[in-house]
């Protein structure tokens, strides 16, 4: 119990709540309790189940097992509107406001009764907006268009809505991700004031220092389970990190067989203002798998996009095979020998409406079809080679991309880029949303590629995967590389670097 709080009926209790999505067990059994007048932090790695837990609380999803007890009422079918009625409000990282309406109109839309023919009382709409804004300490004109507000100001509008709705449970999902120090202080003040009037706040953040500054209690989630709830005064940062990662790397990963050869890629102080990448320096050698770890938004995908010419480099040097390159477009990057298998294969990878063979040859038209006439024979032969090499399970090279399972789509996406015969392969979340069997197949393929002399950069939010697959691990945070660690490092060190703790080794 937080100090000074009398024991009372909690605002919210979850008992062994579980939720599956298809075959994925997002939550395995979570116990959680929120008291009135406390700030309760929720902590866990990417994919630990925080978002799912929030969706259960806001009624966006229903649990498959377990109980949700809101203010003493055991609820079976919690819906978003019921949750709102019971006083649950959620403030997301990206405020969900209408940019072309004013602050007062946005607040009015949330708080006024929904009746199509109701006459709008503009005066009371504005007075209420002004009062609420004042209460949350936002000095904004109520008639300002939301489009003209900064991100933190928009968050304050969201909070004003939550306060105005009389919410007694407010969920804040990484509210400080885009705030500066002063804005953060102002937000903390608002949170403390809400706590003082008896609101329960569920606070999600990756920044440990915030949790110690603000929260009363902290619950750690790992792999969809609640590991434990502690008073913040009883635990330190090291203890929290240990709770978050605390597991062994399983022996499921294929062993490293290759001996790294000459340097293929070397980055010297690489930066790109547009995408927020700053001062990144590292080297990757032929036959090496260089893992890139970090939290979501740490700048890993952004770095890959810089290397691939999507947001061209504007600072520092990129050397490929000792030659300086400044790729300005994907074509130039491909010509230089870089391949990038993007993160979201459904959106940017495999074109589901196109045939597998057409998908595979998409990046090698100029080489495969000199004189620009398509050669269907050569196309099929190439596709069949990769279908065989990567063991793509499909009806044939002319089947549609959309007919494949996630793992096989990923293999087709990989095949497209291997067909460009790259020297450097960048994989962005190669096994995201892929089932376990296909995952280990893809791991074997990546190992095999490294063994054949490819330099591989593997971006992954799956910590065991990074630890098990990488020869070396670069950790990013806020657009910079904060550490380079040997492969099979313990997860504690990677997590510390990703969270920005003091143990940094410094980029080599």
């Amino acid at each position: 119990m937080p100090s000074g709080q009398p024991t009372q009926t909690p605002l919210l209790t979850l008992r062994s709540a579980a939720k599956n999505f298809g075959g994925v067990r997002a939550l395995r059994g979570v116990d959680f309790e929120l008291q009135a007048g406390e700030v309760h932090a929720l902590l866990g790695e990417n994919g630990a189940g925080k978002s799912t837990l929030i969706k259960l609380i806001t009624g966006a999803h229903q649990p498959d097992a377990g109980q949700i007890i809101l203010k003493g009422r055991t609820l079976d079918g919690l819906t978003p509107s019921l949750a709102q009625q019971l006083g649950v409000a959620c403030i997301y990282q990206q405020p969900a406001l209408f940019p072309d309406l004013t602050v007062a109109e946005n607040i009015g839309l949330r708080l006024e009764p929904v009746k199509a023919w109701r006459r709008i009382d503009w005066r009371s709409r504005y007075t209420r907006a002004a009062t609420l804004l004042q209460r949350v300490g936002a000095f904004l004109p109520a008639d300002a268009e939301v489009r003209s507000l900064s991100m933190p100001e928009q968050q304050l509008v969201e909070i004003a809505c939550a306060v105005g709705s009389g919410a007694s449970i407010i969920v804040m999902d990484e509210p400080t991700a885009s705030l500066t120090g002063r804005e953060q202080e102002r937000l903390f003040k608002v949170v403390r004031e809400m706590r003082a009037v008896g609101v329960g706040v569920i606070y999600i953040s990756h920044r440990l220092e915030e949790i110690f500054a603000l929260a009363d209690r902290v619950t750690v989630l790992r792999d969809g389970e609640s590991i434990g709830t502690h008073d913040v005064s009883d635990i330190d940062e090291a203890g929290l990190i240990k709770l978050m990662v605390g597991r062994e790397v399983s022996q499921l990963y294929p062993p490293a067989e290759s001996v790294p050869g000459e340097t293929v890629l070397s980055l010297r102080d690489v930066g790109c203002a547009e995408s927020g990448v700053k001062g990144v320096s590292f080297e990757v050698r032929a036959g090496e798998i260089f893992g890139l770890a970090g939290l979501v938004g740490a700048g890993r995908t952004e770095l890959a996009r810089v290397l691939f010419g999507l947001t061209p480099v504007d600072h520092g040097e990129i050397l490929l095979n000792g030659k300086r390159i400044t790729p300005q477009s994907p074509q130039e990057a491909v010509a230089a020998g870089i391949a990038y298998v993007p993160e979201d294969r459904r959106r940017h990878g495999v074109v589901l409406e196109m045939r597998i063979a057409h998908n595979i040859t998409m990046a090698v038209h100029r080489r495969l079809f000199p004189g620009s006439w398509l050669r269907f024979g050569a196309e099929s032969a190439l596709a069949l080679d990769y279908i065989r090499d990567l063991a793509v399970k499909c009806a044939g090279p002319l089947a549609r991309g959309g007919s494949l399972s996630g793992g096989n789509q990923q293999k087709v996406s990989l095949a497209r880029w291997l067909a460009t015969k790259p020297r450097l392969l960048i994989l962005d979340e190669p096994t995201q949303g892929v089932d376990v069997g296909a995952k280990s197949e893809i791991h074997k393929i990546i190992r095999q590629l490294a063994k054949e002399g490819l330099a591989v950069i593997m971006i992954s939010s799956d910590l065991p995967e990074v630890l098990g697959m990488s020869d070396r691990i670069g950790v990013m945070r806020g657009g910079s590389l904060t550490a380079i660690l040997p492969g099979h490092s313990d997860s504690h060190r990677v997590m510390s670097a990703a969270l920005g703790q003091s143990e940094n080794k410094g980029a080599a």
């Binding site: 691939f308 999507l310 477009s329 994907p330 074509q331 491909v334 990038y340 993007p342 959106r347 940017h348 990878g349 495999v350 074109v351 409406e353 196109m354 057409h358 998409m362 990046a363 038209h365 100029r366 079809f369 620009s372 006439w373 398509l374 959309g402 497209r416």
Partner: protein
Amino acid sequence: MSKYFREISVTIALGLVLLGLAWFAPAFFQGQPLLSLVTREAPTLVVMCGMALVIICREIDISVGSLFSVCSVCAGLLAEQGWPLALVVPAAVLIGASLGAFNGVLVAGLRLPSIVVTLATMVTLRQGLNLARQGLFVTLPEGVQWFGLSQAAGQWTLVGAALVLLVIFGLAMRYLAAGRWVYAVGTDAEAARLAGIRPQWVTFFVFVLMGALTGLASSMNLVQSPQVQPLTGAGLELKVIAAVVVGGVAISGGRGNVWGAFAGMLLLACIAPALTHLHIEAYWEKAIQGAIILLAVVADGLSSRRQKN
């Protein structure tokens, strides 16, 4: 269901209409009137090839009607000045291509929505032309009509040229890497970009091609009559867009081919003469064409929904 279900069903519908005409109105198939009908549609076919590409590329061009008028009048004035046809035709193509390039720069370069850009150029060109010509017709000199050949020879030349272009585009879209790029960009421009295709250039060239084909079509129209009237292209855009959509090119891009569009165009073009021959009031033409378009769009909607499930 076959991948070419839409193309096949349109072709079957066309076959049924032709069969019905052969049964009830054999007069429809008399040589000279039929040749005249087909010749009148030849320029439309050329514009339609361009429109098919534009829509496969997930864009649209509603300025082709105005563009057609501008090219016709310019070509007519050049012919009036005594330019030989061998120069007038390339000039019309060039004018069309540069106007198409203007659309292309705005759409691909500045990434503006093509429907708004081409709406603006459509209105601007039409009104500009009205202002400049005040409704005046251009009277063409002797020797321009039917290239100075006999009418039949001229008609066969036009129909032949249009069909050759159709075949070229049909083959190019299937057998050229550039054709594949148009499909790729229309399906998923971001994936295409990551694969090293340049979506903006592809879109730009498609608009240039659209303009050039419209210019060519305008000169194919020019030689069919002794005069050019300034509103000659009015309504052409709707005609070709309808043909393309009925022929199974998805308005959301990435799907369809010029063969289907050709069948769609013939089907829509058959309606008017069929009504005449069947002694039905001509007012029904637009209603029937509208119903066919609606049917095609509904078929697309249903099949795309089935794919998603």
